[in-house]
Every structure is written in structure tokens, then in C-alpha cells.
Symmetry: C2
């Protein structure tokens, strides 16, 4: 017996999808002015989150929720543009590090002010303080019901069973 | 002077992005069991929304927030699989209709129960009634600040200035 959505739930769900679609497009258009795609920007943000500016490929994939092949292809393109660098780990079998380059950090720093202004004007300026708080609680609840998708264990990146 | 997000706004924004990423992946995985991608499903839903089961290409693009080329390529693939049909409009210059086929409607009807159960269990079961209401109000506010991106006028699809 399917538990269909009632009319108001359906409306909320459709509006939620539409918000995501419009945010994706408007964010992409805004970032394009800085020569970055939304995907580029997301990778750079995740790398810049740690002081050393580099993370394991599988950590990036888990954070971005990208499949290995999508991640790999995108990182190859970013590496060609000098935004990131793949660093082999030698004897460490947990896979390559992806490191932010100076070019990547500069590109991120150049794009960030415009991006943040865009997010602020389209999202945070539009919501009341209590709505922002409610949105935070809603997201926390949803994240608890939506486990991250690619397996979090580094074993996927590893070619040896004795890790 | 950049109006940076404060720590709690930044957390809300990151969680919101992470919710979108995880929902996209989990929805895609769930729909794959029915042989449809998230994009296929979205197109079929938009077409099935109207009693006649067909809409102008530009209307589809506006609803899905897809660029013309993405829409066109995806519809070509769906047409090959028999899910939709392009119908020329003859003298009408507002562009082609995209119509749901019987195969497309059957595929949608077969996928819908599992999809709705997924959305219900991951989203609506997890939120309180007041959170669902708050989410609806938040989405309404955000949609007002995010105009649909592709120009809504059918002129883009049209090759004549005397439309």
C-alpha cells in the first residue's frame, strides 16, 4: 500500500526540488563570472577546509557525494587547469592526495566574495532568523536519515587487503 | 565589503548543500531499480502533470531549469527508449510538443510507488508537521528570490519575429 504524499506534502516536495534547481542554475551562472563551475568551486572549498589544503580522493568523493569516476574525471580537468594537484602516497595504500595549488587557492579566494554575496542575497536575506534556525534543524534531521552514499571506508581506494 | 556568513549560517548552508547531494544520490539509486534516472523521472512527472500528457519543450526546460541543449539531448535519448515523442507543431511557431507515450506513462506508474515511499521515509517521516510547514514557507520565500532561469518567453524556441 503506497503511502502517497497528500496535496500539501506534494507541494512542499515540488517546491523543494524547484528551489534546488534554481539555486543550482543561479549559483552556476554567478560562479561562471569567476571562471569556475559549481563543481570546481565545491572541490576547492572542500580542499581549503583543512589547513594543509589536501585531502584523500575518497574523502573528497564522500563529501561531494560523487562516484569515483565522476570525481576522477573532474579532478583530471581541474589538474590540467592547474587548480589542483594529485600527489601519490608512495607506500601508503589509502590512495592519492588531492592538493590545492596556489592557482586553485587564488581562484577560490577571487570567487568567494561574489559567491557568498549571491548566497546571502538569495537565501539568508530572504529568510527570517527563525526560518534559518528551522532550516538548520530540518537539514540536521534529513542528514540523519540520509547516510552518505559512497562507502566511507578507504578500502575502495585501496588495492591491498592488508590495509 | 563582503557580507560573509557567520559560523551558524555557514553550517546551515553546508548542511543544506549536503542534504541536496545525498538526496540526489539516494533518489538516483532508488529510481535506478525501476530503470529510470532522476532526469528521466523528472521529465515524465512534468509531462504527466497535464491531462493531455504533452508540453512545449520550452515549458519543460523552464520547469526543470535545464538549458536548451541539455533538454534536447536528454529528450533524444528518452525518445529512443520510447518514453516520449516529439510532435511537430506545423504552422505553430512556439516549438515542438513533447508527449508522454504509453511506454513512458507505464514506466512512470511503475516507478512512482517506490519513489514516493523513498521520499516519504527519507524526508516526510523524519520531519514533524511543523517542520514540513516551515520547509514549505522557506521554499516559498526562496522561490520568490530565485526567478526561473531560462527566459520564460517562448521566443527562444521560435524562429520568427512575428510570433
Amino acid at each position: 500500500m503506497t503511502r502517497w504524499l497528500d496535496a500539501s506534502e506534494e507541494q512542499v516536495w515540488r517546491d523543494f526540488l524547484q528551489v534546488q534547481r534554481r539555486l543550482e542554475v543561479s549559483t552556476g551562472q554567478q560562479l561562471a563570472a569567476s571562471g569556475l563551475s559549481t563543481s570546481d568551486f565545491a572541490v576547492l572549498v572542500v580542499l581549503s577546509d583543512v589547513p594543509e589544503g589536501r585531502r584523500r580522493a575518497f574523502e573528497l568523493g564522500r563529501e561531494l557525494q560523487w562516484e569515483k569516476s565522476r570525481l576522477s574525471h573532474h579532478l583530471t580537468r581541474m589538474q590540467r587547469r592547474g587548480l589542483v594537484l594529485r600527489e601519490d602516497c608512495g607506500s601508503d595504500r589509502r590512495g592519492a592526495y588531492i592538493a590545492l595549488t596556489d592557482v586553485g587557492r587564488t581562484a577560490l579566494e577571487a570567487a568567494a566574495p561574489g559567491h557568498v554575496e549571491h548566497v546571502r542575497s538569495r537565501v539568508f536575506d530572504v529568510l527570517s532568523a527563525s526560518q534559518v534556525e528551522a532550516l538548520g534543524e530540518i537539514c540536521t534531521a534529513l542528514l540523519a536519515s540520509l547516510p552518505p552514499s559512497p562507502p566511507p571506508a578507504p578500502a575502495q581506494e585501496c588495492c591491498s587487503p592488508d590495509e
